[in-house]
Amino acid sequence: MSKKPAKGEYIETDTGNKVSRKCQIVGSTNIILGGKTIIQAEVIIRGDLIRTLPSSRSASSGAAQSNVAVAIGRYCFFSTGSALRPPGKLFQGQFSHYPLKIGDHVYVGPSSVVEAALIGNHVHIGQGCVIGKFAIIKDFVKILDGTIIPPNMVIPSFSIVGGRPGRVVGEIPEGGHEAFDLRELYKTIKNS
């Protein structure tokens, strides 16, 4: 393994995404990055787990829709060793994966595994968490370190979640909204 100091640690895209050279992105054509998102080393994103079951309501436009496996908004931060996997389930006898949608300003802590169906805006997921299949996390949610969110759980806005299984243990105070902003964190990541 030869280190190449000329190349930085991150590959920077036109929209400001900084993707580590040491991360594993599978099926990159099925992943949408909104911009200014940081993907650190050893992050795994499974874009290959696309939806195989045709959507019943959008049969015609389904072909274009179903190609997205992971959609990520702006100013997201995926720490070292975290993993994003689109959730999958058996539906009417057929197994299929479903897209994983992530909003803006979402922080995923080191070595956390995310298999949610939807993560809103301004969500902080701590270190070593497991977000179960088809979980729905709304805006302004903080998930404490080591939490295991059971599958299918819905977490409403302004919740602080902790424990195994995860349960709502507190509320985000009125003044705590600004702490979710990840623009400052984005600037601290320098390509060196």
């Binding site: 019943s56 009417q92 819905v154 409403p156 003044g175």
Partner: protein
Amino acid sequence: MDHFTPYTYFQCPCTDNSISIRNIGHLESTRADHDDEDERTFDPKAPRANFSLYPLDHLLYCEICHEIRCPRCALDEIVTWYCPNCLFEVPSSTVKSEGNRCTRSCFQCPVCVAPLSVNSEAPAPTGLGAEHAGPAGPFVLSCSFCCWSSAEIGIKFEKPNSIFSQLAKIKNGGDPILSAKQRRLDREERRRDFSDASIPEDAQEVLPLDPNEQLDAEAQFSNLKSFYQSQLADASPASALGFGGEYGYGSPGALTRIMGLYTGGGLADKRSQSKSTPMREACDATEGLQLAKTNADEDLAKLRREGWEGTVSKEQRCEQAHEPHFVSDLRPIAALLRTKRSKRCKSCRHILSKPESKVQNTRFRIRLLAMNYIPTITIKPLQPVLPGQSSLLSPMKPTQFVLTFKNPLYDAVNVSIATPSQTPGRYSSKVTVLCPQFEVGAYIEDAWDDVLREPGEKGGEKERRRTRAETFEGQQQAEAGKVWESGRNWVSVVVEIVPATVGPESGPAFLTEGLEQDNSPMKEDEDILEIPVFVRLEWETDPAHDDGLGAPVSKDKEAKVKRELAYWCVLGVGRIAQV
């Protein structure tokens, strides 16, 4: 426990009131001249201190009273009730009638509190058109975290929706529960029988209900209530006509009786004298009587058979309404509703925060945050901790910290800070603020552009100053009476701390005089160095564009209003290394 993040907690001034009750004059002295506060310093290690300290983001600010408002001096008002699982709004009338649980299909696992999902027990349909066929019953509630299923308690559902109402009709094991309506019909039947044949023994023979059945708490209550209502009605014939109404006011008969009471007519008196027949007590399950089980053989046998695994834990039991002993008696827990709340100032009733009423909307209509009115205070070591170094403070070694005040107001603020020279508590550290008085510049309007464009941009100037300061660090020591660094709306001052010796046998160096040495073992977090700081702010403001947003516009533009605010803060500096 090497990791420690420095923190700043603010004490809401509302807590001073409770202290002043015990020590009269304390409040006045702290307010009037802060120099006097040496007499009584706030002790962050006091048992009660924890209840009055809040991080800045928990605090609100009342623009009418010009005071900080904490969760203890703000009133909560419920804006919306909603289910945290299905996110449906529940009208408050439904909350009153149905209780604070979701009445749709949202349930929690009684074993592990994870959400339950409705699953079909039948195999997936196969063959032609299978993908269009809906799942077939029976359905069970199953937990995907601990694999509990409602089939374990013998409950299966016919439909996948409105589980709440289906569950209300099924006992554990699958037997139906008589609804309140059925019970009422039954009672009416019984009452008719009573009136036909006055001997109750005869009437009971025609009852379809088992007089010895085990009732749940709700059914027992409704049975008891109706029994005593009928007893009251029988006892006072005047109110018999009004039976059925909540308090018996709903009929002409009852009204005349009540009016008779108030007008002093002899009618009611005569009646009350005449009815001396004692009331009968409930005597079976249909009337709400439940005999305590004296024979626990059944339970004992079950306990032997199922063992420890078959019993419920304390946490599981607390979630249940009927206090079960066995796992087989557990019932799915309906999701507890959650609320959106607005906050009001307790003294002037002005609204401090008000969220949008829609469940999915995360905006706030009003949000008067203390962090927009009082400076934020951050503390960090002057010499940055190197990655390999321990972040613990070494005892007896003077350490310098940088205290940064950042002003959110549009007016320059004069800040005076005061600390006790020795921190209160058993392990008393020496604290010296090198510059206790300074002015923090205004948060200039122009900065708004920066905020809207890139909030970090305005940090450029700040960062430059800081790096310059760091280069000076070698030759220039922090000077007493001078500000260490400053920016447009922030000022940093240096605080010198000599941490105390913490440990079982702490040295005599900084023990508070007058107290004999307390040799009890160290309590939790007693090795954290916390400094109480009294902060006093003074500023002049234009009432027209008062402290920023949404202030009432007044006509006299010339008059500058002088404002002041004083409060205690606690700075958590770090842990002291133990010797």
